[in-house]
């Protein structure tokens, strides 16, 4: 099993670089020679596509973990740039500060004004630090709660982009009540009479994710993951071997496919051919379409129906045996 994402992406990247170089060269050639070169290039492209089809067509759980965390994967702000218009970012929890690891604001998706929140990772080291690696502090959840409240009062649907390794677990977070903040996030979400749609675009990291993700509908990108614990953490606890993350990833069933089978998410959103990082715009369009579809579905319900529907959805999650003899519920 591949140990790193770069291991299988490297040949692909080289192939792609080679193809672009050839395309550049081709432009300088006279038409007849260019035509001759076309066949060669198309063969390379075929090779590339085949490689992608084979590799990305059957990624294992651990490989998906690597893709979900890939450093060139589109982040929340990329989706906002691609599908949101008239965006106004809103800041601050009115208590302590503004968390840069959770973005929040109002904008239009399609022709629909909505409140949007999402974890934000950084792409280079400086931005990563600025975004605290997408690990939100209490003020992030409290900012989101403030915006959820606004959405409810103005009848705006809510979209949550989920992409976090975990909530920030440091001293400051404990001091300001990270646990309370996450719980309060869910608590608030369950009160909303407007459609709420979450999209797991990368890592759905445990409490850090669900704190803004207890939505009416939960969608996952094809290669996103959603887990109660990072696989490395699970492996460290169970087998005292953080390196056994691949084994834990399989056991935890953290892929979109597993989550759908368990009935815990509503839809898998396809990524661009070869992964979201290979086609951020196309992937964003798929996400937009899926979100608008869910708005349409939920728009048919009254606020009370939306609340009841959401309650029922989560209330029914769980698998347990009720009687000593058997009888499955859940």
């Amino acid at each position: 099993m591949a140990k790193s994402w770069m291991e299988w992406e490297k040949p692909l990247l080289e192939l792609e670089r080679g193809i672009s170089e050839l395309r550049e060269k081709q432009k300088l050639l006279p038409p007849d020679k260019a035509a001759a070169m076309e066949a060669q290039i198309q063969q390379f492209e075929q090779t590339r596509d085949n490689y992608i089809r084979v590799k990305y067509g059957r990624l294992g759980p651990w490989e998906r973990v690597l893709v979900a965390r890939a450093d060139n994967r589109p982040y929340t702000l990329d989706y906002i740039r691609n599908i949101v218009t008239d965006w106004v970012e809103l800041h601050g929890d009115r208590r302590h500060g503004d968390d840069k690891a959770i973005i929040g604001g109002v904008g239009k998706i399609g022709n629909r004004s909505c409140v949007i929140v999402g974890h934000q990772k950084g792409r280079d080291l400086k931005e990563r630090k600025f975004r605290n690696f997408g690990m939100a502090k209490p003020e992030g959840y409290r900012k989101a709660i403030r915006l959820f409240d606004m959405a409810d009062r103005f009848g705006l649907p809510v979209v949550s982009f989920i992409d976090t390794p975990a909530a920030d677990p440091n001293l400051e977070s404990e001091q300001r009540g990270i646990s309370e903040a996450i719980a309060a996030g869910m608590f608030k979400m369950f009160s909303l009479g407007v459609p709420t749609v979450a999209v797991v675009i990368g890592e759905g990291g445990s409490g850090g994710a669900i704190g803004i993700g207890a939505s009416s509908r939960v969608l996952m990108l094809e290669n996103a993951i959603y887990s109660v614990i990072p696989p490395e953490g699970c492996a460290a606890i169970l087998w005292r071997d953080a390196a056994a993350g691949d084994k834990a990833a399989a056991a935890l069933r953290l892929t979109a496919q597993s989550a759908l089978e368990l009935g815990l998410i509503d839809e898998i959103v396809p990524e661009a051919f070869g992964g979201a990082h290979r086609g951020p715009k196309e992937t964003a369009e798929n996400v937009e379409k899926a979100i608008l579809g869910r708005f349409d579905e939920l728009d048919r319900m009254s606020p009370d129906e939306i609340r009841e529907d959401r309650y029922r959805k989560y209330r029914n999650m769980g698998v347990q045996i009720e009687a000593p003899i058997g009888g499955r519920s859940g």
Binding site: E174, A251, R315, Q320
Partner: protein
């Protein structure tokens, strides 16, 4: 400290030798140093609710090992062996100073009191019973957090129990939570923190992340001596009061009296 019925035992906190009988009579709190020992669910029920008032519900509910997770079945069996229960949460109806309450009590000995589908369902039903009967919910936590052996199903128990808390809140039903050692992670970050009133026993471990993870994430910062204790949580406004075990019952009775005595609304 082992639970065997010797006449004497040595306190883990202060190393003093104690009479077992006195220790038990003192609610398993060291009379010398005040160390609060963990209680089984049955012990907790006995010292908290009106005598003989607790009636267990859903005792038969158990986990189905839905992910066929490595070694989970064995751990469930071991949990059963050490507690005689099917899972970590015991729930039922009880009385406090004559007032009926919907109650749940966690037993840490069952897989570290972790929350999988069964615990999540029982907590949810505890709150739903409170709503249906319009009586207070009283929950004692003792847990390491979510149960990873049920994967995403366990994470969703955080959402499910929080949804039930919201329903109780909207229904005007009082919910009191008592944190006992330990109250951590996925449970602290869901229904435990959503109570109207939160009491905690002294020096219980209360926190989001494991000590090692928290230390690592805090980089060079020195963690305070009382980091992730009841007292730390109290200092930072996260809980209403740190209450000695001997005073928990009386405090609960006072609260239940006030919260069910409203005339308006």
């Amino acid at each position: 400290m082992s639970n065997k019925p010797d006449a004497f035992l040595r306190c883990e906190g202060c190393k003093k030798v104690l009479f077992s009988k006195e220790f038990v009579k003192n609610l398993r709190v060291c009379p010398n140093c005040g160390h609060h020992y963990r209680l089984s669910a049955d012990e907790r029920i006995e010292i908290t609710f009106d005598e003989g008032s607790f009636v267990e519900l859903d005792a038969d509910m158990k986990s189905e090992d839905p992910l066929q997770f490595p070694e989970y079945a064995e751990k469930l069996a071991r949990g059963f062996a050490s507690t005689g229960r099917n899972d970590s949460v015991v729930r039922g109806m009880a009385k406090l100073g004559g007032f009926p309450v919907s109650a749940a009590v966690a037993d840490f000995r069952f897989m570290g009191g972790s929350m999988g589908s069964v615990a999540g369902e029982k907590i949810t039903r505890t709150l739903e019973t409170a709503i249906d009967e319009r009586i207070p919910a009283v929950i004692f936590t003792a847990t390491g957090g979510a149960r990873m052996q049920e994967g995403l199903l366990s994470l969703m128990q955080m959402a499910k129990t929080s949804a039930a808390c919201r329903k109780a809140y909207d229904a005007g039903v009082p919910y009191i939570c008592v944190f006992t050692d330990p109250t951590m992670a996925g449970v602290l970050a869901s229904y435990a923190s959503l109570a109207d009133v939160i009491l905690a026993e002294p020096k219980a471990l209360v926190g989001f992340a494991g000590a090692r993870v928290a230390a690592q994430a805090s980089g060079g910062q020195k963690l305070p001596d009382n980091f992730q204790t009841s007292e730390f949580a109290y200092e930072h406004g996260m809980i209403d009061a740190v209450v000695q075990r001997k005073d928990v019952r009386a405090t609960l009775i006072n609260l239940v009296t006030h919260f069910t005595g409203g005339k308006h609304g």
